[in-house]
Subunit: 405 residues, 2 copies
């Protein structure tokens, strides 16, 4: 047999197992090393992506397959976090969360705009980049809080609720900025976009848990399939993710709302099944963040300086803006909430890529935005580790539940 | 905001959740319908793929993303089946399984060769197609047996062991046929290929469980990560899959061997986590089989007739060949084993595609091979349902364990 003849067959079918092996193993290995250094393991999983990615070792390149696994990982992560959150408790904090989200969005937009304007970037690029960087991506924070068993804290609830509201606000900001950049306003379209996003979120958050509470147990009784509850849960998650995307907000927000709708109607076995999927996929979500790092921002002193300035703006704006919004809870919780809102995610990269495609954002600025997004995601876990240090060990008695006035 | 400007962003990010929703929901819906008609649900999941695929409704087309999920689904399915199989029990039946596998491979090659030769296909095409169709793909059978709680039966063990051996034999047949087709023999390469495949399987089957038995508990004790056992299990599965592919055999055989190596060292919680992943992914494995159906084989009476003749050859050769190999267990079990060996899988399609690329197999013959592969996979569950009808209900007391002399 000429192995060459079958060579492509082997190489082709090895690609998937090979990338699974390398990404998963290195993520878990780095996580273990970081944990032993008393650092959050999640940083290790992101660093593993940087290490094996094109910037350093070049063992694995970002691919459609890995991106798809990463997207799935983020969906299952937020879904599982949603399962731990009772709708009624999130509703209680929705007022506080709205203020946190709004101040975070405003301060990020303002601060990033100021940095870029001072640096002398073109006005259109300036407002487009500022708009791209407003949206918090709650995946990283959710993972840290879940790993530390802190989802029941009032501060955690506010972060989760604020992240959902933040996503809707981010969409509105993007809609306005798109109009400004294109130089023509269409108030009707703007209102329609906003209305759709708000409508979806409000309807799902309000009616979801009620409808699910009635339907899921009944359907489950009638189903012949084994694990009917888990199957229904997955279908609901996919459905809400699709609806979220078509409403203009992120798929992970839909997955979170689906989890929340199911929170009071799933048994521990169903949670174990969902946990299996997220344990498998979340390392890909984290490592792929690292794979996207492009170290070309370090090629010139000027680009590097700008990138670091934008990174500072992106970090401090959320800490100050969101913290200010939550100051009534006391300084400690205000800081925790501010830090929890730091991470940015795929939405920022996708909007920046849109700007690149439209010719509004230059390639160097695009690389800077991607770097800032990844760096903000990687900075958040150690900072969260610091501000939540009173609750460091998972498994210790649950922290006292805060009461909101 | 001009939605058109962001339109591609929405469409692009909706693609993954949309295909997840449509494929998973339709698979589970059709499964439910078939179960209510007292047919195996697995057929419904395959039919769902045919229905939503390009041949009928055209809602979803085969894509790299769905193929990747399908491959992952098959890997996790076989991994989970491996977890239920004790190595020592598989070893007991390895002699019987080797005869079953060998007779199945020989009779399939002979019968398909005869059909195509009688029909007047070119000699090279004839032997290449015959070689492509020898390999049983155990995924479908494993899923049926697992769903019916029948993995502990002696007949089930023989099917699993025979499927592993079958994969090695299939590789050897393919190696020989490639040499013949190319008109030059290289005995050294042939021996190397065979030796590698046999060596990997033997070493992993022999040493895997022992090495794992020593290493996994020790490593797990030292790991700080939550769910260390599950993480180690996944890493082992990915590693064995990669090694299997590089040895020339299918990734799912590697995943099965990894599961088997772990069978005696995993707790129920770890199995639940693995089950969650396979519950999520297996419907994609099944539906994607259906998506690949190409109804163009029905365009001409001659092609149709040939396709049906090959299908009959593919089905009866395993029932008769494997059945004959297992006749010492009595007629009932011989029939069960023969039927269990019917399904074919991705390996057949991949080899046929190789033949197409090399110009040995014509397009119409390629479509016929794909159709036969899918049809054999879809026929197996109802036939298995029939021959295992004494053990129809899952959850009833476990069937008496057969003893092998």
């Amino acid at each position: 047999m000429n192995l060459g003849a079958l060579g492509f067959l082997i190489t082709d079918s090895a690609k998937i197992p090979f990338s699974l092996l390398v990404v998963f193993t290195s993520a878990k290995l780095m996580s273990e090393i970081l944990e032993r250094l008393d650092q959050p393991g999640i940083v290790g999983e992101i660093l593993a992506g940087v290490l094996i990615g094109p910037s350093v070792l070049g063992w694995v390149a970002p691919s459609d397959f890995l991106s798809a696994l990463a997207d799935l990982g983020a969906m299952f992560l937020l879904f599982r976090v949603g399962l731990e959150v009772k709708y009624s408790e999130l509703l209680k904090v929705s007022g506080a969360a709205a203020i946190v989200a709004a101040l975070g969005v405003i301060s990020t937009f303002g601060l990033v705009w100021a940095v870029l304007a001072l640096w002398g970037a073109p006005p259109k690029e300036t407002i487009f980049v500022a708009a791209a960087l407003v949206a918090t991506s709650v995946g990283i924070t959710a993972q840290v809080l879940a790993a530390k068993n802190l989802l029941a804290l009032a501060a955690s609830r506010i972060i989760l609720a604020a992240a959902v509201i933040d996503d809707v606000l981010g969409l509105i900001v993007l809609a306005i900025v798109s109009s400004v950049v294109r130089g023509r306003w269409n108030l009707l379209e703007l209102l329609a976009t906003t209305g759709l996003a708000l409508g979806f979120t409000a309807i799902v958050a309000w009616w979801g848990p009620r409808a699910v509470g009635v339907m899921v147990p009944r359907l489950n009784e009638k189903l012949r399939a084994a694990e009917g509850q888990f199957i229904l849960a997955l279908i609901l998650m996919f459905l809400f993710s699709v609806l979220a995307v078509y409403s203009g907000i992120a798929a992970i927000v839909g997955a979170f709302l689906a989890g929340m709708a199911l929170a009071e109607h799933t048994d521990p076995h169903c949670r174990d099944l969902a946990q299996g999927v997220s344990d498998f996929l979340v390392p890909f979500f984290l490592a792929v963040i690292g794979l996207n790092v492009n170290l070309s921002v370090f090629s010139g002193a000027s680009t590097l300086l700008l990138t670091l300035a934008v990174l500072c703006a992106v970090v401090f704006s959320k800490v100050l803006g969101c913290g200010l919004g939550a100051i009534s809870l006391g300084r400690v919780d205000a800081l925790r909430i501010g830090v929890g809102m730091i991470p940015r995610g795929e939405v920022c990269m996708a909007v920046a890529r849109l700007g690149l495609t439209l010719g509004i954002i230059r390639q160097s600025m695009y690389s800077a935005v991607v770097f800032v997004t990844v760096a903000a995601a990687a900075l958040a876990p150690p900072l969260l580790h610091l501000v939540f240090r009173d609750f460091r060990k998972p498994g210790v008695p649950k922290p006292e539940m805060y009461r909101l006035g």
